[in-house]
């Protein structure tokens, strides 16, 4: 599978390891070090941080920042808001995406082609065009400035519908047909037979939906005004603006914001990367 692009193996080995490590290690460190610095500084005190030149390796680690963030601010609330929004949005995409994806894959109904094309078309509509009227729509619906405004517009995305439709199309039809013959309803067939087979696709949808929802900043910034309804991303940004001198707390807050996606990513790295490349290159 892997190929040696840069020609043959070196004939003589000057080093006990591949010379590529000499390039790859520093390069990958450039990518990792800012995050390492984030983690480290979140365990420092303001006094340690405000020293110049900065102490690269602090002689003691502290929890001051975390204590400040968890006691004095709305951070726990924002964390909860982010969790609620992300969980509901992921769930909505799985449910509605499966229903619509299955209908588009297996049922024939008037207008299905037009609807599918229209939905595909909406993928290219940029956010900045829809953001002002979406704000107005959410205002008329009475959910602006609540978590509902963050949930409703993302409850199902064309991405979820298409990805699941493509996957359902790739499944063998015969099993479902046997179920229909036995008098199983479409909904039951989907639930009992199709969805258990579709776990990889559902996983992809869940992972990518979680990532985009958790990380979103622009829409919460527009839709939410009351700081009790902030998400973590919006809260972190505001918090930084108000606590310019308290870098320890800001960095602790930043760690809390980053950690859930980081953990999710490290736990499911393979699924994650396969999801991205398959939805990107082949989709």
């Amino acid at each position: 599978m892997t190929m040696q692009l840069m020609g043959r193996e070196p004939r003589r080995r000057f080093l006990p390891f591949s010379p590529w490590h000499l390039v790859l290690l520093p390069v990958s460190l450039i990518f990792a070090l800012p995050l390492f610095w984030l983690a480290l500084s979140s365990f420092m005190t303001n006094a340690q941080i405000n020293r110049f030149p900065p102490t690269i390796i602090p002689n003691s680690l502290h929890l001051d920042g975390y204590r400040y963030v968890l006691n004095n601010a709305l951070f726990p609330r924002w964390f909860l808001n982010s969790v609620i929004v992300s969980v509901v949005v992921v769930f909505g995409n799985l449910v509605f995406g499966s229903l619509a994806g299955y209908a588009f894959a297996r049922m024939r109904f008037r207008g299905s082609k037009i609807l599918l094309t229209l939905m595909l078309g909406t993928l290219v509509i940029p956010f900045q065009i829809t953001m002002i009227p979406t704000f107005l729509l959410m205002k008329y619906l009475g959910v602006i400035d609540t978590l509902g405004a963050l949930i409703v517009p993302s409850l199902v995305t064309p991405f979820a519908v298409f990805l699941l439709r493509q996957f359902f199309l790739s499944l063998p039809r015969e099993i479902e047909e046997a179920a229909w013959m036995d008098g199983c309803s479409r909904l039951r067939t989907l639930w009992v037979i199709v969805l258990p087979l579709a776990r990889p696709a559902l996983g992809t949808v869940a992972v990518l939906t979680f990532l985009t929802t958790w990380n979103d900043l622009a829409w919460p910034l527009i839709a939410i005004n009351n700081d009790h309804n902030y998400t973590l991303q919006l809260g972190l940004t505001t918090f930084q603006g108000q606590h310019r001198t308290q870098w320890a707390a800001v960095m602790a807050g930043n760690m809390i914001t980053v950690l859930p996606v980081l953990i999710a990513f490290l736990a499911a790295q393979r699924t994650f990367i396969q999801s991205l490349t398959s939805s990107g290159v082949k989709g």
């Binding site: 002002i132 980053v258 996606v261 490349t277 290159v281």
Partner: protein, 316 residues
């Protein structure tokens, strides 16, 4: 083949029975319940994209503050926009960012992917490290790099001083802020290009590379005549994708500079947001958004056209 005949009988009413089909089926197709399946998605996806898209177009021809009733202006907003120095500056900043960001993403992503496409120890770890910034939110990146590039006590200035470079203003310097945004964009975005290129490299047929080696091709020749052409669809996909990302830059700007210093980082989406939600010129903001959307459309059609030509070339 029994299954296909079952399928046919399940899905297609035979012609002689067509007049006996119930009204519901004639109106809604063979499976009217399908509408129940798609309705939530249709309402949400189309209702929150096509409706706002048209609404936005109407809004762009009005004077609206989002609260009081709007006034019809026709194309005035667009006319004013074409003479607005602030909008022109936003367009220029966006273009500078895009022109720097896209080629560097592609070149850097390809370079890194070629380096990472080998079987040595720790390669998985290296790949993880390069990719991990991609999952970090723009808000978190912005906060982190405001800290790292703080002009007074940031670690970046400390590192520069080891090499004898004097303290820099970074985000406080109007000549550096936009370049710094490109740098941060690359830090977080390169991983995606790498992953896509790695997938592309893995799809190249081993026989092609072996054939090239037998023909005595050196590393550069193999790359130039085998790898690079094979990767062209991937490159075009990434070029489209990264261009669209770059033209829509907003989050990072909002968190790090809010358009400053001295308006040196106002990009188009920031301009739209500022007009609509800070200055309450929603109609004017919508017009600016439409100018950008139109540009995006042209870019993606143009590049997709290039892609189609490419596939025809390869296929024919």
């Amino acid at each position: 083949m029994a299954s296909s005949s079952i399928r046919a009988s399940l899905n297609r009413p035979t012609v002689e029975h067509a007049d006996q089909t119930p009204l519901m089926k004639r109106l809604f197709g063979e499976t009217p319940d399908a509408w129940g399946f798609v309705l939530p998605s249709v309402v949400i996806i189309l209702g929150l994209s096509i409706v706002p898209m048209i609404w936005s177009l109407i809004l762009s021809m009005q004077s609206s503050d989002l609260v009081t009733p709007a006034r019809w202006l026709g194309l005035t907003n667009y006319r004013v926009l074409s003479h607005d120095p602030a909008f022109r500056a936003a367009v220029i900043h966006t273009l500078v960012y895009t022109v720097l960001f896209v080629p560097l993403s592609i070149a850097g992503g390809l370079g890194l992917a070629l380096m990472l496409n080998r079987r040595i120890r720790f390669i998985g770890l290296y790949r993880t490290m390069v990719f991990v910034p991609f999952v970090i939110s723009a808000a978190a990146q912005g906060v982190l790099f405001s800290f790292i590039f703080d002009a007074h006590f940031g670690i970046a200035n400390a590192i520069l001083s080891w090499f004898g470079v004097g303290p820099q203003g970074f985000f406080a310097d109007s000549n550096q802020a936009l370049l710094l945004l490109v740098l941060i964009g690359l830090w977080s975005g390169l991983g995606f290009c790498v992953v896509v290129y790695l997938a592309g490299l893995q799809d190249i047929q081993q026989e092609l590379l072996e054939a090239a080696a037998i023909d005595g091709a050196r590393a550069w020749g193999t790359f130039r005549y085998v790898v690079w052409p094979a990767l062209r669809p991937v490159t075009i996909f990434l070029a489209i994708w990264e261009t669209l990302q770059a033209l829509q830059l907003f989050d990072l700007v909002f968190v790090t500079t809010r358009g400053g210093p001295l308006e040196s980082t106002t990009v188009i989406v920031f301009f739209v947001w500022n007009q609509a939600f800070q200055l309450f010129n929603a109609g004017y903001g919508a017009a600016a958004a439409y100018v950008l959307a139109f540009t995006l459309l042209i870019v993606s059609i143009g590049l997709r056209f290039a892609r189609r030509n490419q596939t025809e070339e390869v296929g024919g």
